[in-house]
Each structure stands twice: as structure tokens, then as C-alpha cells.
């Protein structure tokens, strides 16, 4: 993390190798220990990993934002894998209503909405990669507007507009899927 902070871009890749297993391990442990029905904001987990891996006092703002950008991507993978492992795909009717303004939730019970959001987001990224990225950072990583600005190097206004449009787009897609 420090190496990357001082300009070593390859260190970013090495960092990712630590983050993913750590996230997954913690997610598994959490889901095994917690009683059914409890849930945890996925972003809380991302923050925990951050605190474990990083010397918090020694990271500049941009480094922090990029860490969370990577963690968000991985958190998405962890959540999707967990939902798939639960064998919850397309079982038991329509997915629960998704409120994209609350970040993704890690739940011991199967969560179909994660898979639905993931699929819709993948489809969106084909059309609008930047907008899809903003959603990923915010929904799966819990990044704030300021952090997204730093991570993607776009203006606050663009972040707001992207989020607004992507949210409308995804809500519409999710409703369409629900009807199928």
C-alpha cells in the first residue's frame, strides 16, 4: 500500500491480491457466525479490510479513494459469489425490491437482489462504462461523492448526473426483469 502510495502502480495489483481473499474470508466468517436474518452493510466490511491492511495515517486521499474503488469491485464479486453459492438464482419468484441508495447488504440468507443488480449493472457497463462504474463504487463500495470524484477523476457534477441517470436506468431494468 505504501509502495503504491509513493507511485508504484504495480503495487496496486499486488494489493488487490491481498484484498480479495481477505474480503472473502471475512464475508464467509460473518455469514457462518451470524444468525439468519441479520445483515451487514457490505461497505462496513470493506472499511474493516481497509483498516486491517492499511496504515491509515500514512495514506493520501487519492490512494484511499483508489483502494475503495478496488475494494468495491471485489466486494461485488464476493457478494455475487455468495448469492450464487446459496443456490438462490431464480428461485422463489421475483427479487426483493432494491433501493440503490442504500449500499449492498451482506446477508446470511440468500439475496436474489444482488444477482439482479449485478446482471443489470453488467449490461449497463456495455453501454455506459463510466455510469456503471459510479454505481459499482457507490452501491458495492459505499464510496461518497467526493471519493468517487477522486477515484475516477471526474467532476462532482458528472458523478451526480451519472448516478442519477444510472439509478433511473437500473430501476427500470430491474422492474422489467421482475415482470419476466
Amino acid at each position: 500500500m505504501k509502495a503504491w502510495g509513493s507511485g508504484d502502480e504495480a503495487a496496486l495489483g499486488r494489493l488487490a491480491e491481498y484484498v480479495y481473499p481477505e474480503l472473502r474470508r471475512m464475508a464467509r466468517r460473518y455469514m457462518k457466525d451470524e444468525a439468519q436474518g441479520n445483515s451487514l452493510q457490505a461497505t462496513a466490511l470493506v472499511h474493516e479490510v481497509y483498516l486491517r491492511l492499511v496504515d491509515v495515517n500514512n495514506v493520501e486521499w487519492r490512494g484511499r479513494a483508489q483502494f475503495f474503488a478496488i475494494a468495491a469491485q471485489m466486494m461485488r464479486r464476493v457478494l455475487v459469489d455468495a448469492a450464487r453459492t446459496h443456490g438462490s438464482r431464480r428461485r422463489g419468484g421475483a427479487p426483493a425490491k432494491v433501493n440503490l441508495d442504500d449500499s449492498a447488504v451482506l446477508s446470511p440468507s440468500p439475496d436474489r437482489s444482488i444477482l439482479a443488480v449485478d446482471e443489470a449493472l453488467t449490461a449497463l457497463s456495455q453501454l455506459a462504462p463510466r455510469q456503471a462504474k459510479v454505481v459499482e463504487l457507490r452501491y458495492f463500495g459505499g464510496l461518497t461523492e467526493v471519493e468517487i470524484v477522486a477515484a475516477l477523476g471526474i467532476s462532482p457534477r458528472t458523478v451526480r448526473r451519472d448516478w442519477d441517470l444510472a439509478k433511473a436506468w437500473l430501476s427500470r431494468e430491474l422492474k422489467r426483469r421482475e415482470r419476466v
Binding site: N99, D101, Q126, L127, A128, Q131, R161, D164, L165, K167, A168, W169, S171, R172
Partner: protein, 245 residues
Amino acid sequence: MSPERFRRIEELYHAAREGTPEERAALLAQSDPELRREVESLLFESSVGEFQDRHAIRNAAELLEDATVSRLQLGARLGPDRIEDKLGEGGLVAGKYQLLESLGRGGMGIVYRAEDIKLHRAVALKFLPADRVSAPEVRERFVLEARAAAALSHPHICTIHEIHDEGEAPFIAMECVEGQSLRARIKDHPIPIEQTVSLAMQIADALAEAHRKGIVHRDIKSANIVVRGKNGRRARRAVPQTGIR
């Protein structure tokens, strides 16, 4: 769809969303029909989302406002900035509706029981929340909602008497259904299976009528169903919150 197509949608969406209602109408009118449909459905989605977002955040504020409502019931003088203040002396609305009590509120409206002092009958008045009144698109939806519900005539659908869409406190006057919400009714005690089936059939029947007229309710939930009387013999949709497609 191609990324280029998406960019055209994106451009028009933001221009329409950030423009005034007149600019938006002009922009949409100029664009090709398919593009227009896309953008309109997204704008619609975005406005629905706003209502949902607001709903969650405003709970605390609504609790405060409910205190006003209880003051109203006691007949006390009201503080400023409330819908009730804009209604004129003595809570008389449009010269003929005497406000009596609050029946409930949601993101899209505040419902009062009132008496029509000319016709001597009970009515329910649904107002827009005070902070939504100034938004033209909100008022437009309000009128559409009333129009959609007014197109329906069914024993299990609340009858619309009139809409008053001018001034600072637009409202819909409708039949006042005596009873309690299905939500309140099933909250503490389960209801017998026969009654459940009967209510479900009445609700389905009312919805079928709406669907025949091309109207989709879009927010059917127990809080929006009023069970008439103590025995709940007849179900009614009391707060029609309709969407049109």
C-alpha cells in the same frame, strides 16, 4: 442498443431533467418518438425514485407534522408553514369543506376527513404535502391521479367527487370510506381465512376494473386498502394512487 444510442439518451435525459417544464416539453417534442419514449420512461423512474427516497428520510419530519395534526383535532391555532394555514378561516376549504381530522399521510398526500357543509356528507380530502406543492410535475401527477380514479366507477373503488387544483393547497375530494386500513386491521390479529379470501377477491375485482380502463395502480398495499365497517364486509381502495400506462 449501442453506446452511441445511450449517449443520445443521456444527453436528452439531462437536458430535460435540468430544464424548466417548458424547455423539457419542447426538447422531448423535437426528438424522435423512440428516443422520447426511452427518456420519458427514465424521467418517470427518476421521479418515482425521488418519492421513495424522500419517504424514508422524511419519517422524522412527518412525526413532527403529526403533532400539528393532533393540534388541529383539538381545534387549537396552528403554527405557520402548514398546509392547514393556507386553507382559510376555521379550516373551511373551498368554501364548503370543514376539516375534521387527519386520516393519514404518505409521501404523496395528506388525507383529512371533512364535512361538505352544503351537501351534509362526509368526504375525504387529499392534499399534496406542503413542500411538494410548488413542483409543477408533482401537481401534474396529482391531476392525472384524480383523473384516472375518476374514470372508474366500482363499488370497491373510492369515488372521486372533485379536484381543486388551483392555489397553494390543491386537493382531491373523494368519498369518505368509514373503516380502517387493511394494514391496521391485520397488524395485531390475524383475520380468518374466509375473510382473507373475501377481501382478496374484492381487491382483485376492483383492480380488474381499473385494468379494464387501462389504469395501473402501482402502489397496492395494505395501507392503501380500507376495510369498511367493523366486520370488514366490503373492501375498498381508499387512497387511489394511480399510474397510467
